[in-house]
Subunit: 246 residues, 4 copies
Amino acid sequence: MKKIFFLLGLLPALNCFCQTDRSSFDPKVTEVWDLKPVKISPAKKIGDPPSDAIVLFDGKDLSKWTTAQNSEAKWDIKDDAMIVTKGKGDIKTKQTFGDMQLHIEWRTPDEVVGEGQGRGNSGIFLQERYELQVLDSYESVTYSNGQAGSIYKQSIPLVNACLKPGEWQTYDVIYMAPRFSENGRVIIPAYVTVLQNGVLVQNHTQIQGGTEFKGLPVYRAHGKASIQLQDHGNPVSYRNIWVREL
Amino acid sequence: MKKIFFLLGLLPALNCFCQTDRSSFDPKVTEVWDLKPVKISPAKKIGDPPSDAIVLFDGKDLSKWTTAQNSEAKWDIKDDAMIVTKGKGDIKTKQTFGDMQLHIEWRTPDEVVGEGQGRGNSGIFLQERYELQVLDSYESVTYSNGQAGSIYKQSIPLVNACLKPGEWQTYDVIYMAPRFSENGRVIIPAYVTVLQNGVLVQNHTQIQGGTEFKGLPVYRAHGKASIQLQDHGNPVSYRNIWVREL
Amino acid sequence: MKKIFFLLGLLPALNCFCQTDRSSFDPKVTEVWDLKPVKISPAKKIGDPPSDAIVLFDGKDLSKWTTAQNSEAKWDIKDDAMIVTKGKGDIKTKQTFGDMQLHIEWRTPDEVVGEGQGRGNSGIFLQERYELQVLDSYESVTYSNGQAGSIYKQSIPLVNACLKPGEWQTYDVIYMAPRFSENGRVIIPAYVTVLQNGVLVQNHTQIQGGTEFKGLPVYRAHGKASIQLQDHGNPVSYRNIWVREL
Amino acid sequence: MKKIFFLLGLLPALNCFCQTDRSSFDPKVTEVWDLKPVKISPAKKIGDPPSDAIVLFDGKDLSKWTTAQNSEAKWDIKDDAMIVTKGKGDIKTKQTFGDMQLHIEWRTPDEVVGEGQGRGNSGIFLQERYELQVLDSYESVTYSNGQAGSIYKQSIPLVNACLKPGEWQTYDVIYMAPRFSENGRVIIPAYVTVLQNGVLVQNHTQIQGGTEFKGLPVYRAHGKASIQLQDHGNPVSYRNIWVREL
């Protein structure tokens, strides 16, 4: 019989100094006092930004955003939401980020148009390159690694947790940026956890490289980068976007 | 200059078959169609149980719970909450769990009594042994690896995201159970991610072993186990408890 | 200035009980006595099997092996090595494995024939499905995720650490099997670390699913499985194969 | 019956575009050509430095080493080995390192003196703070998280893979440095894998913070740092030390 560990306590002849009697241990030895987490104020309502969040969009204006080409962002704003405006192109945050907790709310059009990848398609590019898919895949059929909640063409969501088109949905994202060696090789890949509407859809998923429509994802070294929202030609809305740097 | 990877495209003499021209690639090759995530219905309100959740406490009764000794659970229920009832001991779920997403809400007494570990102390034992601390540490001073949001005596929360005593707080927990070899040795430790009031306080934290008041944590092999709530003598309340098996 | 943690020791007014003075701590509290690792005997010569290894091939016979179809393995044996014998098909271990440390030595023909994937091609399928590539890629050009040391079509080796064709090479592999949920979904992917000729070529690489020649890898639930060696039509030799279950 | 994933292929009515027929896929789409690992030369004999290694000690002199206080290192050298020389203090590499593969050989005195932590004690401090224990624990009894192969007071080795006192032993170490946030908090802990005499004794072990004799380990932010060898008063020998930066 194989045995890797055995309990010394079970041995017939036992050196008394081998038995761990914890009762006499001072519990203070395993207390840590000299590092204190900073106190922040969480929101009263889950989903609203806590005191240490950077609010990226509060319904008023696009002052924190530019186009992907660094010119003025021109998506429409209506009813406290920004709306992908066809032909205006992707927009991205002026500020760049690494590891972060991201909250973002999105809504696909209540008037359903198109199918598969043509229905309510947009996307959230973490660090401008790793796409968390936004899509109306409530009932529409598409490939599983391309539906809402997927890391596009890399990781299928654990469940389809979509609400109906026209309803506001939330993504709560914990994102750990990749680390690169001095030689430009990825040495710690990115990891992402996503809750969609409060339901876990990506569980510490390892990202395989930059999102690719064709062929395999590949890592290319980069530093901090923006959060980028995709103009895929469909009027998807976004609101209540905030981020906490980790 | 050292270089681990180089781009073949930069070489003067390039074998044409080495250059990857993705333009001709068929994008269907990286679509996955034949695995489909099951469709579930998320709650309309974040925090409420989605359709695939097991509701452990809905405010009505303790029918899903027993004492740690498997007799009838006798905590008081009031205003849709269960209250730690001094002397009634810990309670645990009748059902046992492994990997899970757990939602639980808790409230420490609005009348502040005691200090440090004596103020509003309770705890959530994942699999009956790994304690996510519950404590009124809004203003009270205690050791950092013993405050609310800590994995007790193992991991300090990233921030103090506490609400005031008397206010309802939430934990959203993603828990990956440890894996043991046939010999009883831990081979993949447990990992836990915790959002407190929507704020990340534990980020894929590796659990070091069973929670110990004295001495170091140590792993001992186990299978599925209950979620256990601690009676530490303070009237802490719990409500809206649900779990999704992963 | 943002600050998540601060040192209490730096504060002007310090509650004396907050400062951790470790000098009075009993060092015994952080000693662990009651779990003892089993004592094994390592080999005198690195590469030879330690006392707790299961020797899968010692140069004598194929008694531990069958074909993939569970009939008698018929590869040739010569000079203490087994040789891929064209047309005899893949062979696999009779015993099945999960997490393991694997040592295996291989040699591609000293007479170089063919190019790219046609030169000295074989492969080690961990659990019958995850291929660690064996190839003469000392000087031959092929795709990087298909050269020796790669997880085939998934992960490029960190460096090309190949010896010349005709020389014996070693793989030391640390393999953690994937874990699946009761529903057949992968919940912890497989990870693999590989040293080729003593040089790290795969560093805790996450495996993305079963090896696929066409299209993306996909996980399908399985239990313990064999180590399988590929007949790719080239007379690659293997010797000194042993495994330690973790 | 619960089911997270189902195979579309099993459904009675199947949309033909849902079934993945991989046979028509072009296998080139999953080839990666444009990133090439650099070619290095492994040693002919396992344990000797490959061509891209930095040799830290080749048996001749301590030119790559200083004392912990940055003055001249004064350990004795004899028979191509350096020997811990009582009273000369710890020595460390002049060069500093982050992620690395480390090879080091060590020998405790063949004349056994002392017991437990007093017998052939030294240690290898990764980045000057995370101790991989060196000890004659072939037969001597000590606490398990303090024996050879342990991460001192943090992680027990998987097996006791020690050779006899007086025999040369090897450590092959894969070390991933911790990453800290801009605020000084650890955001990705260090991980270490150790083969002792070719046998896995630490398997992707998470390091909990700097090594502490008393109390719990705690992380404090740092950058690249030296490899440091401990003078614990016993004449332990070291030889053939090399490192590869990852």
